[in-house]
Symmetry: C2
DNA sequence: CTGTTAGCGCGTTCAT
DNA sequence: ATGAACGCGCTAACAG
C-alpha cells in the first residue's frame, strides 16, 4: 500500500538502520549515502509512518487544542492560529470542544493522552485541576485564557483587569456615571478580573459602586438578555452598558432592539472581545479587544518552548499577560455631564440633557 | 509511566494474548477470566495504547474533518456536530483548516493519511481530485458541501438549487422584479447551483434575466462590498438583493450602512446560510438555511457506513441532498408593483397595495 | 479456551 | 560508517 523504510533500504541496497539514520538525519552516515537515500526516498514517495515512529519514540506529532466551543469568536481565531502555526512545524492540531463541561473536559483529556499527544493547549474549566496536574508530568501543557487555580501550569492570560479598566474609563470619560456591567461567572478568572477592572476605574473616578448595576452570569446569550432587562428596568437605569461577557452580547442586542432603544443615542454599548461583524454592524460596536491572535501565538510559543526543553519541570515565569486594547467605534456616545459632581459624592440630580448629538469621532 | 497490557497480564497471571482477547472482547475467552481481566485492568487503570494498536491494525481512531475556515458559521456547526458524533463513538476528530487553498489542501491530505486516519470528511477545493481519488482507495472519504467533479466520491450536498429558488421566489412574491444576486464563484458547485435556482425562479415568474444584476465572486466580504456598490450604482438599481455568497454578507451590510440605506425600507436583503447574530440583528435578517447541522450529521452517517462496510468500493447512491428552507425574518419587505408590466405571462395584476406594512409574520 | 510465536514500521542499541 | 538484532505495545496467526 504505502512504501516503507524497508522498501527504501532495499532499493538503496543498504540496511534499514542506515536508511533510518540517513533519513532522520542523525548525522551518523556518510554524506554520500545520506543524500542518495534522501533522493531514493523521494523518488519512491516514501512517507515515514508516524504511528510506527510514535510507538518507538513515544511521540505523535499531534498537539491538542481544547476549547469550550467554536461560537466564541476568540476561540475561532485561536484555533486558526494554532493550526497554522503547528502545521508549519509539522504538527497536526487536534481540536477538541469541551463545552465548558468538566466531565467532557476530563474525558477528552484522557483520550488525548491515550493518543500520546506531544503537547496541549487548554482553556480549562477549572474543575479538573488534579487531572491536569497529573497529565502535566507526561506532556507539556499550557493553559489559555483561564487559569486553573488548582495547578501551577504555565498560563497565558488576557489582561482582563486592564481591559475592563480601559473600557470602563472610556465610558466614564464620555461622561457616563451610571454604567451597567454584565460580566461572566465569578468563579472564572476572567469574570473576576473584569469586574475588578470595572471597579477600579469607578473608584479612580470617584464614582460610588452600585451593585444593582452589576450582573454576573453564565456564558450564554440568555444571560445578556435577562441582565439587560434588569438593568433597563431600574428606576434609575444606566446610560451605558459594558457587556464584558462575550457570549451575552447577543442577548443584550436583542433586548435593546425589542425595546426600541437606540444605540448610542439612548444607550451607550461597549462589548468585550471582537466579533467579525461588530465593525459592520450599525452602529459599529466599540469593543475591548482581548488580543485573541496574540494570545494564541504566545501560547504556541510557550508550548513549543516546553516541548523542546523536555523534562524540565518548573522554572521561571509561569504566567503571561497579553495586553488588551480599546477599539472605539460608534456604539458609545458622549453624554452631558450635568455638573462636575466630583467632590465627596453629592451627585447633582442629572435633571435632563437636551440633546447631545452623537459625537461620532 | 503508564500501565501496559503486559502489566495487566502479569497481574492476572495470564498471557498477554489472553489479556488482549479478554479486553477487546473478541469473545474467545471464558467469561470468568474475561470479567476478571476487565476488573484487574480497571483496578490498574489500564488504558490501551492507540498507537501500538494502530500499528498493528492500521487504524487510528482518528477521523479528519477538512474545512476552509472557521469563520463561516456553517463550518462551525459542522465541526461541532462532527466532533460530538465521533466522540460518542470513540473517535477523535482531527479538524483541519484548508483555507480553500488547493496547495494547503493537498499538503493536509497527505499529512492526514500519514497519520492513518480512519475516515475523512472534506469540503474539497475541487483542485485535488486526482489526489482524493487515490486516497479514497485507502480510506473512506465523504465530500461535504462541495463536489469534486474529478472524483466519484460519495458527496453530501446542500440543496442549493432549491434554496436559491425558494429565496428568489420569496422576493418575487413580495413584489420585487429587479433582484440583485451576489453569488459565489462559478467554478464551485454551490456557486453554479445557486445561480441556477435564482434563474429558474425568475423564469417561472416571467421576469427577464438581467445580467447586470448578477455578480459572482470569491468568498470574502470584499466581494460583497464591491458587488453591492455596483448594484446600487446601476441606473435602475434593484429593490432587493439576494446575497447567496455567505462570506460576502458582511461586505453588503457595510455598504448599505455606509450609504445609509435602510433595510428593508429602501432595500430588501436576503442572505444565504444563517449566522448566530442574524436573528438578533436589527432588522433580523431573513435567510435561506442550508441545514448545516443536517449536512454534518448525514456526512457522519455516510462516513460511518463506509467505515463499517470496509473494502466495499462503489455501490448505490453516491450523492445526497439536504433540503434548504426559507426563514423569514424582517429584512425583506413587500413592495408596490408599480404597474403590471407582465405582458408575456399575465399573472393576476395585483395593481398596488399602497402600503403593505412589513408583513412581519 | 489458552499460551506461544510472529510481526506491524521504525529507532536504537550493539557489534563490526 | 554500516549491518544485525532487539523492542516499543499490541493483535492475530498458529498450536496445544
Amino acid at each position: 500500500m504505502s512504501v516503507t523504510l524497508k522498501d527504501v533500504a532495499q532499493a538503496a541496497r543498504v540496511s534499514v538502520s542506515t536508511a533510518s539514520r540517513a533519513l532522520t538525519g542523525t548525522g551518523l552516515t556518510s554524506d554520500r549515502t545520506q543524500q542518495r537515500l534522501v533522493r531514493i526516498a523521494r523518488e519512491l514517495g516514501y512517507r515515514p509512518n508516524p504511528i510506527a515512529r510514535g510507538l518507538k519514540t513515544g511521540q505523535s506529532r499531534l498537539v491538542a487544542l481544547l476549547v469550550h466551543n467554536l461560537t466564541n469568536a476568540s476561540f475561532q481565531v485561536m484555533a486558526e492560529v494554532v493550526q497554522a502555526r503547528l502545521k508549519a512545524l509539522g504538527y497536526q492540531m487536534l481540536l477538541c470542544i469541551g463545552g465548558d463541561d468538566p466531565q467532557q473536559e476530563s474525558d477528552t483529556l484522557t483520550t488525548l493522552v491515550d493518543h500520546r499527544i506531544d503537547g496541549l493547549i487548554v482553556v480549562p474549566t477549572g474543575k479538573n485541576g488534579a487531572q491536569l496536574k497529573t497529565l502535566a508530568k507526561d506532556v507539556p501543557i499550557v493553559c489559555l485564557v483561564r487559569r486553573d487555580d488548582a495547578t501551577d501550569l504555565e498560563t497565558v492570560l488576557a489582561d482582563d483587569p486592564q481591559g475592563a479598566y480601559l473600557g470602563t474609563r472610556h465610558l466614564i470619560e464620555l461622561g457616563h456615571t451610571r454604567i451597567g456591567l454584565i460580566v461572566g461567572r465569578q468563579d472564572t478568572t476572567s469574570g473576576r478580573e473584569r469586574l475588578s477592572g470595572y471597579v477600579r476605574a469607578l473608584r479612580e473616578a470617584g464614582i460610588a459602586r452600585d451593585d444593582t448595576l452589576i450582573h454576573a452570569g453564565h456564558y450564554v446569550p440568555e444571560t445578556g438578555a435577562s441582565c439587560c432587562r434588569k438593568l433597563l428596568d431600574l428606576s434609575r437605569p444606566p446610560s451605558a452598558i459594558f457587556v464584558a461577557n462575550h457570549e451575552a452580547t447577543l442577548g443584550v442586542l436583542r433586548v435593546t432592539a425589542e425595546r426600541n432603544i437606540a444605540i448610542p443615542d439612548d444607550l451607550s454599548l461597549l462589548c468585550y472581545e471582537d466579533m467579525p461583524w461588530f465593525e459592520w454592524h450599525r452602529p459599529a460596536i466599540s469593543i475591548v479587544d482581548n488580543g485573541a491572535r496574540d494570545l494564541a501565538n504566545l501560547a504556541v510559543d510557550r508550548l513549543l518552548h516546553r516541548m523542546d526543553a523536555k523534562g524540565n519541570g518548573s522554572e521561571g515565569v509561569r504566567e503571561y499577560r497579553v495586553g488588551a486594547r480599546l477599539i472605539k467605534r460608534d456604539s458609545c456616545r458622549q453624554v452631558d455631564t450635568p455638573a462636575p459632581a466630583r467632590s465627596a459624592k453629592p451627585k447633582s440630580s442629572s435633571s435632563k440633557s437636551s440633546a447631545a448629538k452623537s459625537a461620532k469621532a
